[in-house]
């Protein structure tokens, strides 16, 4: 990588906080955001544990001072809150000062609204204002609403590769900077809970009715979550002496090419993604201070990822934890949210605990970190995000002195 890619801003909203400060507080206090579902009516309501953002759509609109005359999906609103924080954190005042782009990610898009109106869209005798919602269905809508809200015009795109989506946005953004397509770029992702995804994951029988237990012998599945996590990436060109949070020193994307939803037994794709990230960063496994694992709590992922980690770290792992025990699995937003958590780890020298862990998996030689360590010298963090379709992504963030 020829140019250094710096993170100058972060923004986050999830079940554990509506900004970075609240999020860090929840993590320090080991306060998980997993609980009951409130905002969506579903048959499965009583049998779900989710990482729901407590604010209603109206409250989110109020929070980010959204424009009054625009239809916003919840996906858009979550994204706007997080990107607004990222912009502020990066001290961006005049968006037009430099060529500025956005690469976002989502899997749900506008489905949260569409699923409630689908039958009505198909009934030609049913007319009304609700027809305007049709324009919010596809995945570009939230990206464009966020872009319009902040005045970003120079480059827009959206990635959707299931659970690795926003990690891939971060990579794509970094490459746009390398090639000078933009001078600075907002990267990350946003997803909201919806009946579509709740029913989808329910049909796959990989949801845990109780709070998830990543890497535990008795893990039972994942908890769905929602939220948004965004970074502002810049190079030397636009820094002008401003504060840098850390460096994106490596990244890698690979494909497991094994099965549509299940990871390969040996985690080959995961291994390759991490290997690519190391190669690009010039770092070695022993340089990593902390691993923020994908760690969904499913039988298959945690085994596959665990074995891949052991292989690449030669069984000598630094502290590992999955923060999905706090936020739930935020799908396309996971990569972005967990990137922000990785950066907060570096800034605050903090290792997060892996909640709900009791018994080590017999196939693995390691256990995740169960204690919060608030005084750890965190220099380099590896963050994993693995999605359906075998899409495996890894990011490495590094402290800048």
């Amino acid at each position: 990588m020829s140019k250094n890619i710096y993170v100058t801003g972060i923004g986050i909203i999830s079940a554990i906080g509506k900004n970075a400060e609240e999020t860090l507080m929840s993590l320090r206090n080991k306060k998980s955001g997993i609980g009951k579902l409130h905002h969506i009516k579903t048959r499965h309501q009583q049998n779900l544990s989710v990482g729901e953002v407590p604010q209603t759509d109206e409250e989110l609109k109020e929070l980010c001072k959204a424009f009054a005359d625009v239809i916003y999906t919840r996906t858009s609103l979550l994204g706007m809150v997080a990107v607004a924080e990222a912009f502020k954190s990066a001290a961006i005042v005049d968006v037009q000062e430099y060529k500025t782009g956005i690469v976002s990610a989502t899997s749900v898009g506008g489905m949260g609204i569409a699923e409630n109106f689908f039958s009505r869209y198909l009934d030609v005798n049913d007319n009304g204002d609700f027809l305007k919602n049709i324009n919010t269905i596809d995945c570009s809508d939230s990206t464009e609403r966020i872009a319009d809200y902040l005045g970003i015009k120079d480059f827009l795109s959206t990635i959707s590769t299931a659970c690795s989506s926003s990690a891939n946005s971060i990579m794509y953004g970094a490459r746009l900077l390398q090639h000078g397509i933009v001078d600075r770029v907002v990267v990350g992702g946003t997803d909201s809970l919806s009946r579509f995804t709740i029913n989808g994951f329910h049909s796959l029988k990989i949801l845990d009715q109780q709070p998830c237990k990543p890497f535990d012998l008795n893990r039972n599945g994942l908890n769905l979550g929602e939220g948004a996590g965004f970074l502002v990436l810049e190079t030397e060109k636009s820094l002008n002496g401003k504060n840098v949070l850390c460096k994106l020193s490596g990244y890698g994307n690979s494909n497991d090419a094994y099965h549509q939803t299940a990871s390969s037994p040996d985690g080959a794709g995961a291994f390759l993604a991490m290997e690519n990230a190391f190669r690009r960063s010039g770092l070695k496994a022993e340089d990593i201070s902390y691993i923020n694992a994908h760690g969904t709590g499913t039988e298959v992922n945690d085994l596959s990822e665990g074995l891949a980690l052991e292989r690449i770290f030669n069984k000598k792992l630094p502290p590992v934890s999955s923060t999905k025990s706090f936020t739930g699995h935020t799908l396309a937003a996971a990569g972005g949210i967990e990137a922000v958590l990785s950066i907060l780890s570096i800034q605050n020298n903090i290792i997060y605990p892996n909640l709900n862990f009791k018994n080590q998996m017999p196939e693995l030689g390691f256990s995740p970190a169960v204690n919060l360590d608030a005084y750890y010298n965190v220099k380099h963090v590896l963050s994993n995000s693995f999605g359906f379709g075998g899409n495996t992504s890894s990011l490495i963030f590094s402290k800048v002195n």
Binding site: R43, Y121, I134, D138, T161, N253, N255, A257, Q260, G389
Partner: protein, 354 residues
């Protein structure tokens, strides 16, 4: 950032799949929908996997397989696709099932198949390709973002040959939903009369266009892709022209060097004026043509346009069915500029003769 277009595989409403002919026999629709001519999938799909696949996935795999075969490449160094609506058929199926049985007895197949990166994933699975695999889903920038990703990777020495595709399908339900937004012509028209109508609305289309982009030249190459620009929500045609100028300058070209320009006008008088203004104000002397009367309007129509440009440059011909008669094309065709849009997503692509 440049790349050689080494192979193509195109499923479209025209006879474009596995043929050396270039728009010889034209397919005309009178239903306001140009539907793809699909091949027999038996030669392309593993039957055990195919049983789950939606239509767009089959189209994508077939087109991708042909592109690789055409390029004589067995394993691409990356698989990158752009699709605005993804696996629409399966999304509708799962959503309909949720509604019909009130969230009971749902089976996972259509949910899994509805995930937007299914096409990229299935191609990787079929090839056992463990390399870089991205899917872009930004409306009229989906295909162009994928092309840009490929160009960047080839420029970084991260890859030699990349499989890139742009695809979207149209379904009965979506035709209806978009009609509620008044997207289509009020009365059925013949697709070859799309631009003669001078009314609002357009006609629907769909397609799967895959390419192999290569770092190094070969005797197989169709053309050279020299640059892409995406422009979000331009307020005036002048904004587009500034980007055209930049793109040409980056390639040491002037407007006089463009042999012809393909415009993505779609017959909707409410929006086609951008094109006529660009034409009259900035490129009055450049021979021009259009393509949406052949492929219909859809978010990744840029793929069809790029195939047309590649074929024009390779075969050194500009079919009469494409070209506006006002200015004749002067041979040799040295470069083709494409200016396209889908709603507020505008894009430019430049290709040159090898």
């Amino acid at each position: 950032m440049k790349a050689f277009i080494r192979g193509t595989g195109i499923i479209s409403p025209q006879h474009t799949f596995v043929t050396t002919e270039f728009l010889k026999e034209i397919v005309i629709s009178d239903t306001n929908f140009l539907k793809c001519i699909e091949p027999s999938y038996k030669d392309y799909l593993d039957p055990v996997m195919a049983r789950r696949m939606g239509r767009i996935v089959k189209m994508g795999i077939a087109a991708a397989t042909e592109a690789l075969k055409n390029a004589k490449i067995k394993m691409p160094d990356a698989i990158i696709t752009g699709t605005a609506l993804g696996c629409l058929g399966d999304t509708e199926k799962f959503l309909s099932a949720i509604i019909a049985d009130d969230e009971q007895f749902l089976t996972p197949t259509s949910f899994i198949q509805s995930i937007q990166n299914t096409v990229s994933a299935q191609i990787a699975l079929q090839l056992k390709c463990m390399n870089h695999n991205f899917t872009f889903v930004h409306k009229g920038f989906s295909f162009e973002s994928a092309l840009l990703d490929a160009l960047m990777m080839l420029g970084e020495n991260d890859a030699e040959n990349i499989l890139v595709g742009g695809l979207d399908e149209m379904t009965e339900k979506n035709l209806l939903i978009y009609s509620r937004l008044n997207n289509w012509k009020k009365e059925n028209i013949r697709s070859n009369e799309l631009f003669a109508q001078k009314t609002e609305g357009t006609i629907a289309g769909e397609g799967a266009a895959f390419f192999v982009l290569s770092k190094n030249p070969s005797s197989n190459d169709y053309a050279k892709l020299c640059g892409i620009k995406t422009i979000y929500n331009p307020s005036t045609p002048k904004e587009i022209n500034i980007h055209i100028d930049t793109l040409l300058k980056e390639n040491s070209l002037s407007t006089d060097d463009i042999s012809l320009i393909l415009y993505g006008m779609n017959g909707d008088t409410a929006t086609d004026n951008f094109y006529s203004q660009i034409k009259s104000q900035f490129l009055p002397n450049t021979p021009s043509g259009s393509f949406k009367h052949l492929c219909g309007e859809y978010q990744t129509s840029g793929g069809f346009a790029m195939w047309m440009a590649a074929m024009m440059l390779k075969n050194q011909m500009a079919p009469a069915v494409v070209m506006h008669s006002s200015l004749p094309v002067i041979l040799p065709i040295k470069s083709v500029l494409i200016y396209n849009n889908y709603e507020n997503n505008h894009s430019l692509m430049l290709a040159e003769k090898v």
